[in-house]
């Protein structure tokens, strides 16, 4: 525990050291960020050991905080799991960031370094916190430091407003969490999590606490309808920061949800699980459909994050549902799927966000309509991004498939729940999961195809440079994680087994080998990523040799088939809008579309389509208008004359006196 706290302090010290010579990129980027990556590895190692050496819970009371309200920290399997995630993924992002940040892009590198490492340290503290006070302090530090990171280029108005929206929703969520902890202590007024675990709440109050937690953590994780900040804030932030927010901060929210709903609250009724499941599924489908119609590569990834968070939350909901019916194995299976998908999403989404960063630096373009063909100019980034793309599309033998496979297995086992209504509903949930996963494949083909394949849509792309070696190492580290979890799924399941054991009191069946999973029973279902990979590699090798040996490998280069037209130009390629068109057509009611079509006699025809979120116009703008209207109404009291304010004070005193007497 002391090592862990030292490491967190080391992050803060590294951050402060950035201020010493804040404009020296050599100092900040080539010394402090790699050192931060080393610290992250240390944290991952501590998390790993907490997971592997079982059920030892370490606690400590820090000599910090208010006089009679010291900070409590605690390291158990769940925190260990998320620390491992934070450290392992954070290390990759830090190495990439070392090669990414430059002078002259908004905030000075030294200050950025401070914000960056504060952000990391605060996430570690959220995971370690064992009382509501430290939890909220760390949570708010996390929100604020990430706000400053998002608004690195704070002179651009869009980024300002994106940052404001993020801050607003973060605080609405934090308020809900504060209220949630206020309910959880159950009248004892003790803020430690131990007291909350022991508190007895009436079912109604427990429901209120759960609802508040779902709202608060959902706002941070991006559950519909609280998702609106994600597609604004992720594109606004520099790419390593987007990667940290999407890959790590959303996972911290998932951690909070797990901590409150499985650890602090227990024995919830089944409708909690049902509510979570339905919210998760809705979020997943919503995110996937919206991701398919985006034309900005980082917005596309942001919506895809919403989708993946939806799947994770749906798995958590399924686990809660099963746990409510005391089906431990099923609960463990769903929870393992949720945890594994949390890891997987952190790996591949960070990888892709970082890859967009490299693309952004090489081309200064974020719009999909102006990219293309980068696989030839940036082979390193393109190859590593391909791994992330395939993983995110949920294809075997990479990691995304493993968690989806586990989730589907969990859904398949649910009809044994002794409740007819749930039995009817849950298979439909499986259908939604499958549809979402298949849409993710569509989205990823669009993303990769438009950015890296085809011909460059702008002449400037011909000068694009591949990423530097630090960036390549960062990307390769994350891609390696994607491959390892995919090929050795049982090893990953072993890691999360300690968590499922502490939270739901059971773990999934061990598979026969580290590369072979059989979570329910060997005869029922098993999957081995390694064998699948070897099998495919074997067939490829055999076919390659056969074709070369029996025939030949002769080849010549020709221009592509042009259907008889005089010339093919890059502008004739399918665009991102075009690729999203079938989805717009099929899921029309999801969107709020504004079309501008050219008239037949237009000399400069212009086709424009704008797609908006219905929640924005249906929920947020009316809410904002109502707030404005309320403020106007209350401004009647603001007269600007001293005498009237004195009258208000007098009246208040009178009213209070009436109450007291």
């Amino acid at each position: 525990m002391t090592i862990l706290l030292d490491l967190v302090v080391a992050w803060l010290v590294l951050g402060l050291a950035g201020l010493l010579r804040s404009h020296r990129i050599g100092w900040v980027a080539y010394t402090l960020f790699p050192a931060g990556a080393l610290v992250a590895l240390g944290i991952a190692a501590v998390g790993f050991s907490a997971l592997t050496n079982g059920f030892v819970v370490e606690r400590a009371v820090l000599p910090l905080g208010l006089p009679d309200l010291p900070f409590h920290v605690r390291l158990d399997a769940l925190s260990g799991c998320f620390l491992l995630l934070l450290g392992a993924v954070g290390a990759g992002i830090s190495v990439f960031a070392a090669g990414y940040f430059r002078v002259g892009e908004g905030t000075a590198p030294g200050l950025l370094c401070l914000q960056y490492h504060t952000f990391l340290a605060s996430m570690a503290m959220v995971i370690l916190a064992d009382d509501a006070y430290l939890f909220m302090v760390a949570w708010e530090t996390m929100a604020l430091s990430s706000y400053f990171l998002v608004t690195t280029q704070h002179r651009i108005p869009e980024i300002q407003s994106a940052g404001f929206l993020y801050l607003l929703i973060a605080h609405v969520g934090a308020l809900a969490l504060l209220l949630c902890f206020g309910v959880l202590h159950g009248g004892s007024w003790l803020m430690t999590f131990d007291a909350m675990r022991g508190a007895t709440l009436s079912p109604a109050w427990a429901g209120v606490a759960f609802g508040l937690a779902l709202f608060g953590f959902g706002a941070k994780a991006g559950l519909v309808p609280l998702h609106v900040w994600l597609p604004e804030a992720h594109p606004a932030a520099p790419s390593p920061v987007s990667a940290m927010m999407s890959g790590l901060m959303l996972k911290v929210a998932i951690y909070g949800l797990l901590r409150v709903s499985f650890d602090l609250l227990h024995d919830g009724p089944w409708w909690w699980g049902m509510l979570t499941l339905v919210l998760g599924l809705g979020t997943g489908l919503f995110g996937a459909v919206f991701a398919a119609v985006q034309t900005d590569m980082k917005r596309l990834l942001a919506y895809s994050s919403i989708e993946n968070i939806g799947l994770i939350v749906a798995a958590i909901g399924l686990a809660m549902l099963a746990y409510a019916f005391d089906m431990r194995l099923l609960a463990a299976l769903a929870l393992a799927a949720a945890l594994l998908h949390t890891f997987n999403h952190a790996l591949f989404k960070s990888l892709l966000f970082l890859a967009t960063g490299s693309v952004l630096h090489a081309t200064h373009e974020r719009s999909l309509g102006k990219l293309g063909g980068l696989i030839r100019r940036m082979p390193w980034v393109a190859t590593l991004a391909l791994i992330g793309t395939l993983a995110l599309a949920g294809l075997p033998p990479l990691n995304g498939f493993v968690s989806e496979w586990l989730l589907l297995q969990a859904f398949l086992t649910t009809p044994s729940i002794p409740h007819a209504f749930i039995n009817m509903i849950v298979p439909l949930g499986a259908a939604v999961v499958v549809l979402t996963a298949a849409l993710a494949g569509y989205v990823m083909v669009k993303f990769y195809g438009v950015v890296f394949l085809g011909q460059p849509r702008e002449p400037s792309l011909m000068q694009a440079q591949d990423a530097g070696w630090l960036e390549r190492i960062g990307l390769a580290w994350l891609a390696l994680g994607c491959i390892l979890i995919g090929v050795f799924p049982q090893a990953a399941l072993d890691l999360v087994a300690a968590v499922t054991r502490t939270l739901v009191g059971s773990e999934v069946q061990r598979g026969p080998a580290p590369w072979w999973i059989a979570p329910v029973a060997r005869m029922q279902a098993s999957y081995s990523g390694l064998w699948l990979l070897l099998g495919m590699a074997g067939v490829i090798a055999v076919m390659f040799v056969l074709v070369r040996r029996m025939y030949h490998g002769r080849m010549r280069r020709t221009p592509p088939w042009n259907c008889g037209y005089p010339a093919l130009t890059p502008r004739m390629q399918d665009t991102a809008e075009g690729f999203g068109q079938p989805i717009r057509h099929m899921f029309g009611p999801f969107f709020r579309m504004q079309r501008e079509l050219p008239a037949p006699d237009d000399l400069a025809p212009r086709y424009r389509i704008q797609i908006d979120d219905r929640f924005w116009h249906g929920l947020y703008l009316p809410l904002a208008r109502a707030t404005g209207w309320l403020a106007d109404a209350l401004s009647v009291f603001q007269r600007g004359r001293l005498a009237i304010y004195l009258l208000y004070s007098f009246l208040t005193l009178i009213v209070l006196l009436v109450f007291v007497l």
């Binding site: 074709v547 280069r557 592509p560 390629q573 079938p582």
Partner: protein, 317 residues
């Protein structure tokens, strides 16, 4: 995993891979007869593959390594799928490596690779075909999984050999209403996924209506041969999945003797002949749908499969 079972597995895959062009030739032959044309020989696909292997590959100037790797990946995915599906026997060591959900994943891998390769050249038709193929794919994939779920729920396993053994051990001909729904849905998915007529036309030469052909427009010689072979293999794989789910009779159980295995091969050929003829009839009597009717077609398949699932759960409770 003993060596004998492994060898048997290998032999099964080689058999299926070798048989795939015959099925394609047979369907083409039946179609020609039904349409009053003179039919190409049964072994025509072999001849065209040999011709393609001999030719020099003409590769578009922009083509990246991904474009050249994709045919091999697609072929490998289909061959792996053939190793998982119990077409002749249920004694498949590979079926423990990947169950039917992984099978759907393998099909998805093949689809994503071929779509990416189509987008690689940056020609107009390639990316249009990729977009359409992915659209068909994301609609067909859930429908296929829902069909599989129907059967999984019945036999409590996602491993196809276990499913087959379960349904073989059921005494007598029991009609499951849910399987009827699932069967219809499966045929619809099969048509869509294999670029067959209501959705796509394998024999078309009109670029605007193409899906599969538009994607492989840039391929030539050995790459095209591999892709074509993989698509024939895909059709055969789908047919074998259908047999395993709905008409498993004749598939040799665990530890069967050589005679039973031979009988199983013979029965497989007969089943394939019947299925190929039925496919040709379906293709002949139906007209190609507009591309925007395809979602309706596939969502109908999806709904039928979900309906089957609900019927199963209703009857069970």
């Amino acid at each position: 995993m003993n060596a004998f079972a492994f060898l048997g597995q290998l032999a099964g895959v080689v058999l299926v891979v070798a048989l795939a062009p015959v099925l394609a030739g047979w369907v083409a032959q039946c179609r020609a007869w039904l349409q009053n044309r003179s039919a190409p020989p049964l072994l025509q696909p072999y001849r065209s593959v040999r011709k393609l292997f001999r030719k020099d590959a003409a590769l578009a100037t922009y083509a990246s390594p991904l474009f050249r790797a994709a045919p091999y990946v697609v072929f490998a995915a289909m061959a792996m799928a053939a190793a998982i599906i119990p077409s002749v026997t249920t004694d498949l060591p590979m079926a423990r490596v990947a169950d039917a959900i992984a099978l759907v994943g393998l099909f998805a891998t093949a689809r994503v690779f071929i779509a990416l390769a189509a987008m690689d050249i940056g020609s107009v038709f390639g990316s249009m075909g990729a977009r359409r193929e992915m659209m068909i794919g994301f609609l067909a994939e859930p429908a296929l999984l829902m069909v599989l779920f129907n059967v999984f729920l019945m036999f409590g396993s996602t491993a196809l050999p276990t499913v087959v053994e379960g349904s073989l051990s059921m005494s007598g001909l029991v009609l499951h209403p849910s399987l009827a729904f699932a069967g219809v849905a499966f045929v619809m998915v099969l048509l869509a996924e294999n670029a067959r007529i209501p959705i796509d036309n394998p024999g078309t030469h009109l670029e605007v209506t193409m899906i599969h052909e538009a994607m492989v427009l840039e391929y030539s010689a050995r790459h095209l041969a591999l892709i074509e072979w993989a698509s024939w293999l895909k059709l055969l794989n789908y047919a074998c999945i259908g047999f395993a789910l709905f008409v498993p009779w004749g598939i040799a159980p665990h530890k069967a003797g050589p005679l039973v295995l031979l009988l199983a091969v013979a029965l497989l050929v007969i089943k394939l002949a019947v299925a190929g003829a039925v496919l040709a009839v379906i293709e002949t009597v139906s007209a190609k749908l507009r591309i925007f009717r395809a979602p309706e077609f596939l969502s109908m398949a999806f709904l039928l499969a979900v309906l089957g699932l609900l019927v199963h759960l209703l009857l069970q409770s």
